[in-house]
Symmetry: C2
Subunit: 257 residues, 2 copies
């Protein structure tokens, strides 16, 4: 039993972000199949597709990794295996190392968003983000091979971030920095907004109905009517809403006769 | 075997964000222990601590959930169980529903950052973010109980986001919107930057050494020297770096004599 909501295994076509644009993700000595699979899934969620594994513990491929990837098998199938960090980064131009703690190395330290801004500015170069072992992270020697550091603004009460969660945050930040963070749908009106004429006519009908129902004490009629107009304005009614509201009002007044 | 890098089970003290400030997280009919545990962990990473579960599938507590929480048991221990969304949200003032697809409901649709900006602006109210079932999300009826919608800017090639990953992104966005996204360490210089005097003296020593080593063709001496000064400037050397560099240069020139 591994992970979540596994979707079907039909192959994913990569059409949005061709390889070579998003950063390469390098996992150094990852141990758990769940983490590698969830890393692949998190990468695919945001358009990253190039995964490099440095000496995955207990061999490769790992049992359970495909299930944990939940359909992101195109990332796993293209993953490459390397014997050392030096070998894994040889062809790259700019490499960031993630670390949760200060290393006493004089490198620039970035939050994920600022780091991905740097990568996007280096368009055309081959860039990567490197993640360390589940328990102990990257060694100081491995960090020393990176150009700069990424760290995460975690709560000091509970700073331990899961490996695949860290990859997710970097992928998300890259998507935002690269201008691809478009929502799959918007909150556009399904019907045009009501004209002020339609709205004022609705106010009139409502107030007339309430007059007839003797809702208002006469001395408070004006102030209550204004408050109710306020309430209706706050609803940002559409044309369809006004029709629905009018229908409901008609039904209620019919019932009263 | 469940999840990642489980840390020790010593109780976590919540000192950074007292309950009542960060949004409540509501999981509706979550199925997998891994997802609930990883949700608790992701919440704790960013200072969220109030978890409500609506009808968790196959009962509660679930086997494996504590392991998946990897130490964030303070979130699980305080989690409350509810029979319906209506019951779970009764005492709240503003509720956001996460959904991956358009629902034909005329609600505002937010990216996580914008949504969390709304919540932060409602400080003092009790707010929540609601997440649906692993495979099918929230029902339209459940979404209709929310004030507005959050959706995620995922890749159209691979939009399926894991439940705990979605919680992580919301928690991260809340941390940023609430001004708490401080990095645990910075890239401050470990030694003061070198003065220009120290740097110019280093240029002088280096150029003298290279003159003596007959490195420069005479007609190119000036241009090469300027290029090397450029290289050294790009290093943003500290006082300590200049001392190290001078030492290395002395060692190299000693060797040559």
């Amino acid at each position: 039993m591994t992970t979540p909501d596994a979707s079907s295994e039909k192959p994913t076509k990569i059409t949005e972000v061709p390889p070579g644009i998003a950063p390469v993700v390098i996992l150094v000595e990852p141990q758990l199949a769940e983490n590698i699979g969830m890393t692949a899934r998190a990468m695919a969620n945001f358009g990253l597709s190039e995964l490099r594994l440095v000496n995955p513990k207990n061999g490769w491929p790992k049992k359970g990794v495909r299930e944990a990837a939940s359909g992101a098998t195109h990332v796993l199938d293209r993953a490459t295996i390397h014997g050392s960090v030096a070998e894994a980064i040889g062809d790259l131009h700019y490499v960031l190392a993630t670390t949760a703690r200060e290393r006493g190395q004089m490198k620039r330290v970035f939050a994920p968003e600022a780091a991905m801004g740097e990568l996007v500015a280096r368009e055309g170069q081959r860039n990567a983000v490197m993640f360390g072992r589940e328990r102990v992270g990257l060694t100081n020697d491995e960090v020393s091979l990176a150009d700069a550091i990424i760290t995460f603004p975690v709560s000091p009460d509970f700073p331990s971030l899961n490996l695949a969660q860290a990859v997710l945050l970097v992928g998300y930040a890259w998507r935002q920095a690269s201008g691809r963070a478009v929502l799959p749908f918007s909150g556009e009106l399904l019907s045009p907004p009501a004209t002020r004429e339609a709205l004022m006519s609705l106010f009139g009908s409502l107030e007339t109905a309430l007059d007839e129902a003797r809702f208002y004490p006469p001395e408070k009629r004006e102030i209550i009517a204004r408050n109710m107009r306020d309430m209706l304005h706050r609803m940002s009614l559409t044309e369809q809403d006004v029709r629905t509201f009018r229908g409901a009002l008609r039904a209620l007044t019919r019932k009263g006769t």
